[in-house]
Each structure stands twice: as structure tokens, then as C-alpha cells.
Subunit: 496 residues, 2 copies
């Protein structure tokens, strides 16, 4: 990274607004993560990791359902491998960490700590692929990767992060493009149905695509401050990597041909997105599907006899909830007052709080309080499991609905650059407008407003790989900056 | 590692016997793993990784049930951290991989790629622990680690491997010792109940303990060739790391005190053990609980009409098995003959094979063949789910039983060194005998026979931390080598 870029980044950090401070504060106070003594690396604490495990479990299920299997490839990549694909090395070389010594000796060739695994995986595919019968290869990997960063932010930008990276290999370019879009759809469904985060799926402009890709697709989510977060990307690599790593196969006509590959990744960054989409002044709000604790049960008492009876009632309700597949936990803390506990679990974003006091035990009821709306209701203990399951579904839906409304309200269609600049300066959010398709316009707008093209929404294309606008884009309008004929209808925003 | 050790290791490899060749051959042919272009690192292929995922899932459940939560700590550790605990650095320094450059610059302090994470985790615990209220900390991590190896073998010894490492922190030494033993019990149950591998849980001799530990406990399994595999270890670290990393807490008397810690790990090495305990001349034999495919369904046909009907029957049975929670797969390959497929799935160790031919479709039956005993039976299609579940349980039990009998038959009680030498030279296996407790004797036996003390079995100690023999050890006998009074009854064996 150049010194100039470096200074820019640092300025951005100095310019941290309330939202950024709120974010860091919530991450630390809810014990999702902590700073580590290794510059740029974070510690994911049990509560944050529990959330990540639930996210992983949902996404992993979806990836497997799409026909992929998991595998594991080496952490270290010979430096020469990274250099085989010209754009790829240019994109990643400045960010790599290098192992130069091992076992007490200097290595003949330094090893790169993987920033992404195309280079090592394509090398292996070249050994495994002989004929069309060996295709497709559909493999995913859950792994840690390292991209050295100058300025970092918990979850959003760290030198080491956790992710899944899928790598597939196909006999035809059509099949590769289809798989690229299929996995974008998997990410879209995961974001929307599991994380309650509405996203805009679309294609990246050429300047923003993955180093070495033919086409990069992305899902873009709107954060609480109106900025965009690139939340998952899916790359059609064409035959670029197959040529660089010599993945050839005998086709049905017995001719040697290069294969076509894809890669797609989603990382712990998405966890940062989850916080920034749903959080509020009281802290996290976690969607029930991925919340480590779905229901926190808090017994309330004034003396030991009351403690015994409310704790027993809490344990009994917890058992029935667990039997119904609900992640319920009883708070056994005797050090803090109930009010303190309510705030603590609101901070932690637990979707439902259940209060059980001596009067509730006597009447055979419990009190349920929703984290999202703070609505309170009294439920008979015998109906708790059914009611809780219904409420968790409601909360999941309501959170998606609320986020969807924010996204709609925060997306503005503009037709000239004055409007554009005003929106960026005052309200932020997404801007929906026409682009002439040139890198010059893109760059000029970025310099003037810090806003970039987040994507060409899929809905504005006839088909994903389309060379021009289509779908719901409507009649082309002039580019809002250059006034030249518009080529694509796109989404601009400032971004993380 | 010294040159001398190096040469020794290489000799051992040159001395590969049939069993070693069989092992490597099975790993490669069953596509569990492959060599990688990075010296010492392996690629875990989907079938091997599917097996590891099932192992993880069982072990992770057991670890969580014991009260631990998962978290994630940085891959890189500042070199100075590793040096804080004297024995620890001595043990690991020769094996570390060092990152010396990152982001295009030389680092001021090299970063160690974690060989194990005590140093970084204890540093974080020191920040998190203030008072007795913060204890215990019960955290586990699933991660990759790197220990540079000169000579490697797939799964058994690789420079990078996958594992879980648990790290707990306690207020008293008793509690730390109890947790150490509790986790050894978790490993024992996992090995025996999930992997069908009988193990000898015990304490390591001082020369074999973890660098920095007070006591190291181990589970030792006997491989098909009679050699031992150290399959999981649990360390009582006393206050050694708390002192090195300054983990102090205010106790209930408001006095500052050092905490007590433990660590325990089990790795992909165990997957190598699984292969070597259960495999036979036809390849793998996988215990049903962790087999990626529990039932392979093979439709048998001669023409297209038969293919349609047998495939339909196979799909219908597969659906009912999946609904019953069985991991069933239909073989859709049209390239190979049935005989080839039978061998292939035997090689892959699939516990049950189901054959469905046209006559079976007509009679409404299926044929089931067990991998472990090759016993065949005909079952009515309507009863398949119940029968299969029963058979899978039987196979799991029978595999454990068979391995248990081998372990018993392969463990010999000897009372003099002539017997000892003869067993090691001719039959291998475990040797049960008395040891005078000195490092000199241990070393002399190792030099003479390559056999080492695998452990002092827990059953031969009054309690785990005992300073002398007890339990079922019986009356002490003289050391079989020195003739001095025996202090512990131990297990010797050659090992991987």
C-alpha cells in the first residue's frame, strides 16, 4: 500500500463517527471479540465464536446442499505459485505474510501464508483432473487466511480472518458461470433467511473484481449508518487459473482442453455486518436462527426460599425448551441485580428474555420480553415451548422486515450529480442511478465523494453475464456524472 | 532437531515395513489425503475431511458437554511470547516456522506460526482474569498448527495439522488436575465409544511430558502392527504458565494469587490411528458413528429398463434411510461393473453395502453385506431402516470388541529383560512391566529396543497424581532392566 493510501486510511479512522464508536464498543462490551497483541489479529471470544459457529452451520448446510464437499488444503503456498497468475499476484503480493525460516533453517523458497487458496488448490486440481469424467470438482474449505492490513477494525478488517472459500472446476464456461451465480444465490439466501439481512446481489464493475477473475459477483448489505458492506463474493475465473496451473482434461471428443473454475468466499466480516445491520442503542440484536442463546431465563428472588423455587421453575422450563430444540439458558448469577442482568442480555442481543419471579411460580406463568420490540407477554408455563418457538420465528421475520424497510428507505434513485452529492453528504445510503460504463467516471465519482459502484444489481441485467443493461433497469438514462449514454444501472455507496 | 536424530528418523522411514506401505497405499487409494507441493503439508481430500468432520462433531459435543466453549485465537504469536516459559521454548523453538516479512516490510519482531497456543491464550487470560469470580475459564479452539518436521507421514506426522486445543484456567491446583483428568476421560470415551478404539489412559513419564507441564496424561492405542500411537494428551500445567504470563487473581480473601491452567489436544493424527487400528487387506474399515457414508446402495442392472427400476428402488430406500438419520448414498456410476464397485467401497471402508438387482425389486427385498464380517443377509424393503440401524450399532460394537481383543492379546506382562527384548523383536505389542522410575533405565531401554514408556496406566495409580504405584498394580516387582525396586507398573512399546 502506498503512503498516500495509508494516510487516507488513517484519516478515515480519525474521522470515526458515533456509529464506528458504537460498533467497537458493542463488540468489546458484549465480549464478541478482543484486541490481540499481534498487530491486526483479533481474538474471537466464546460469545462471538458461538455466533460464528451458528452462522457456519447454516451456511455449511446450504453449501453442502448445493453439491459441494469440504476439504482442507495447506496453509502455506510456495511463493512461486502465487506468481503464476499475473493479476492474482499483483492483487495479493502487497498483502502477504512470508515464512522465510522454519525448523531453524532459512527456507530456499519463502512460503506465503495463504491470502486465498486458488494457487494451491488449482495446483492440486491439475493432478486430479484427467478426463471429463473427473469434472466437475465441487470443493469448499473452512479456513483461516492472512492479508496484511495497515489499519484494522474488529471483524470488518483484520489481518487474519476466518472464512469459507469454495473452489469448483468445470468442463464448460457456461457451467462455471452458472455455478458462480448459484453460489451467489446461496449467499443471498443465507444472508436473508438466516441472518435477516436483506442484500443486493449483483456484478462488480471491472475495477472492483477479484484479481484474476472474469466476473465477480457480490452481495451488498446496508449497514446502520447507510454505508455498504461487501458481504460475500463469487468469482467466475474462466480458464485463467486453469491456464496458469495447467488444469487440462480430455473432453468427450478425446481432445485436451483447459477447464473452467470458480471461487467464492464469505468471512467473519459478515459477523461485523450482522452487528451493524441489526444493533441499536442498547447493543446487539441477534436473529434467533444464529443467536448463541435464544432465550435467557432469569429467576427473580429476594430470599433463599424464593431463589430455590424460581431456580427450580427456571430449570424445568429450560429443560422443556431444550427438548423442543430451543437454545435456552438459565442465568445462575447471584452477584448482580435483575435490572443489571436485563441490560446485559440486551447488550448481548438475546432475542427473548424470560423472567420468573415468586408470583409467576405461584400462578404457573412466566413473563416473556422480546429484544427487538421490547413487547412483553405473560404465558402459562405449559405453553412456553410452543409460544417461544412461535415468537422466535416472529422475531426472525420482523428483523428481516425492519432491515428490508431500512434498505428500501435508504436507497434513492437520483438523476443528476448534484442530487448524488447531496445524498452522499447528508444521508448516505445507496444511490441507484445510471453509469456510462467507464472506469474514468467511476474514479472521478470516487475521488469526489468516496462513493464507489457497489454492484450492477442482477435485477438490472438480462442475464448475469450480460454486456449491457436489461431486466428491470428500464430505459437507459444518461450517466449522472458524465452525461454520456448510460450503459448500466448501478448502486453507488460509501462502503466499509 | 539434531543431525543425529535426523538420520535416525530417516532410517526409520527407510525401514518401512509392509504395514507402513499398506497404510500409505490405503490413504492415497481411498482418497483420504494426498501429498502437497509444500514439504511436510498434506491435502485432506473430501472423503478424509468428511471423516474428520464426523470425528470433530462427536468430540466437539463431548467437549461442550464438559462445560467448555469454543473460541479463536491468532495464528501468529510474537516470538518473545514463546520464550516466556523456559521449558516451553526449549521444546518448541526448534520446530517453529517464522514469519519475518509481511505487507512488503520486514517485521520488527518475527512472528511464530503457532505450534500450540498456550503462549497467546495465557496472555489473553491474564487480561481477562481479575478475581476468583472470573474463574474457571473453560475454552477450546479448533485450529491448524505448524510444527516443522523433517520426515513426515500422511496424518501421522505432518508439518501442518488440524486439531482442537483446550485451555482452562482455575483457582486451585486440585481443580486444574481434576480438569486434566476429566478431559482425558473425554478423550477415552471418544476413542472407545465413537471410534471403536480401545485405549490405555495413563500418565507420561517425566521425560515424555509436554514442555512446561507438571503432569502430562495420554491415551495410547495399539495399531495393527502392534506399535503404539499417542492419540490425545491432557496437561496439568500447574502455575507454570500463569507465572510466565502473569495470570493473577484476587482470591476470596482478597489476596493476589497465580492461577492454575491446563491444556489438552487431539489432532488429525487420530484419523491415522483410526485407519491403522481397523483397516484390513481390503482397505479401510470405518466405525459407523464416524463413517462419511454408512450405507452405500448399489443398483445392479444389465439394461436400461433394469437400471430405471433398480435406481428407483435405490432412491426410495435411500430416502427412507435418510429420514431415519442414516448417511446413505446411491451409487449412480454407469462406467464401472458391480464387482469393481464392491472393491471400491470396501477400500473406502463403508460399513454396509446394499445391493438391489432386478430380482430384488421383483421380490421387494434388498441384500445387505457387512464390511467388517462380510456377512450377507436379505431384508424386506419395508424393514430396511430398522435393520440397517440395528446392523450399524452391531458393527460399531463388534469393531470395538475385535480391537479390544487384539489389544488384550497384544499386551504381554513380562518380568525380565530377555522376555522384554524377545517380545519387542518378534511380536511387538504392549509390554506391561515394572520400572524403577529413573530416566536412566528408560533411556537405556529405548536405546536397546526403541521401545519407550507409553504411560503409567491410570489403573496402576492410587489416584492420577500419585507419587507411587497403586490401584491394580499389585505388589511392586523389581525393574525388569535395572533389577532395582520397581516404582511404577508401566506400559512400554515402540511407537509412531
Amino acid at each position: 500500500m502506498s503512503d498516500e493510501q495509508n494516510i487516507k486510511r488513517n484519516e478515515e479512522i480519525a474521522d470515526q463517527d458515533d456509529f464506528s464508536k458504537w460498533y467497537t464498543d458493542v463488540v468489546l462490551r458484549a465480549k464478541l471479540a478482543d484486541y490481540s497483541p499481534v498487530r491486526g489479529s483479533m481474538v474471537i471470544r466464546p460469545y462471538g465464536y458461538g455466533l460464528w459457529e451458528n452462522m457456519q452451520s447454516h451456511l455449511d448446510g446450504r453449501i453442502k446442499e448445493s453439491g459441494c464437499e469440504n476439504a482442507y488444503f495447506p496453509l502455506f503456498i510456495p511463493q512461486s505459485f502465487l506468481m503464476k497468475e499475473a493479476e492474482h499476484v499483483e492483487g495479493f503480493a502487497p498483502q502477504v505474510a512470508l515464512v522465510t525460516q522454519a525448523g531453524g533453517e532459512k527456507l530456499e523458497e519463502p512460503l506465503v501464508v495463504r491470502p486465498t487458496s486458488e494457487a494451491i488448490i488449482c495446483h492440486m486440481y491439475a493432478q486430479w483432473v484427467q478426463s471429463w469424467r473427473d469434472l466437475p470438482i465441487l470443493i469448499n474449505q473452512w479456513a483461516n487466511v492472512v492479508r496484511w492490513e495497515k489499519v484494522t477494525r474488529l471483524f470488518l478488517r483484520t489481518s487474519e480472518f476466518l472464512w469459507q472459500e469454495g473452489h469448483t472446476c468445470h468442463a464448460t464456461p457456461q457451467e462455471a458461470e452458472e455455478r458462480t451465480i448459484q453460489m451467489l444465490k446461496v449467499y443471498t439466501d443465507f444472508a436473508q433467511d438466516d441472518l435477516a439481512i436483506p442484500v443486493v446481489p449483483g456484478r462488480k464493475s471491472p475495477s472492483e473484481k477479484f484479481p484474476g477473475a472474469v466476473n465477480t459477483y457480490t452481495i451488498e448489505a446496508m449497514m446502520g449508518d447507510g454505508k455498504a458492506l461487501q458481504s460475500g463474493t463469487s468469482h467466475d475465473l474462466g480458464d485463467h487459473f486453469a491456464r496458469a496451473f495447467d488444469i487440462q482434461f480430455l473432453n468427450k471428443q478425446n481432445e485436451r482442453e483447459y477447464a473452467y473454475s470458480t471461487s467464492w468466499g464469505l468471512s467473519t466480516r459478515m459477523l461485523g455486518g450482522l452487528i451493524m445491520v441489526h444493533g441499536d442503542d442498547n447493543g446487539l440484536r441477534l436473529p434467533p436462527k444464529v443467536a448463541p442463546i435464544q432465550v435467557i431465563i432469569i429467576p427473580i428472588w429476594k430470599n433463599e426460599a424464593e431463589m430455590d423455587s424460581t431456580m427450580a421453575a427456571a430449570d424445568s422450563v429450560a429443560a422443556s425448551l431444550k427438548a423442543a430444540g430451543v437454545r435456552a439458558r438459565v442465568d445462575r448469577d447471584t452477584e448482580h441485580r435483575s435490572g443489571w442482568k436485563y441490560s446485559e442480555y440486551e447488550l448481548k442481543g438475546v432475542p427473548l428474555r424470560m423472567e420468573i419471579g415468586p408470583r409467576d411460580v405461584a400462578s404457573g406463568n412466566v413473563v416473556l420480553v422480546r429484544r427487538d420490540t421490547r413487547a412483553k407477554q405473560i404465558v402459562a408455563a405449559g405453553e412456553v415451548a410452543v409460544t417461544v418457538k412461535g415468537l422466535l420465528d416472529d422475531i426472525q421475520q420482523a428483523m428481516y422486515q425492519a432491515a428490508q424497510e431500512k434498505l428500501a428507505a435508504g436507497t434513492r434513485t437520483v438523476s443528476d450529480f448534484a442530487q448524488f452529492s447531496e445524498v452522499i453528504a447528508n444521508q448516505r445510503g445507496f444511490i441507484d442511478c445510471w453509469w456510462d460504463g467507464t472506469a474514468e467516471t467511476e474514479e472521478a465519482i470516487k475521488t469526489a465523494t468516496k462513493a464507489t459502484i457497489r454492484c450492477i444489481p442482477l435485477k438490472y441485467l438480462d442475464h448475469p453475464a450480460a454486456e449491457q443493461a436489461g431486466g428491470e433497469a428500464g430505459e437507459p438514462q444518461p450517466d449522472i456524472y458524465s452525461g454520456q449514454p448510460g450503459k448500466y444501472r448501478v448502486i453507488y455507496a460509501r462502503s466499509y
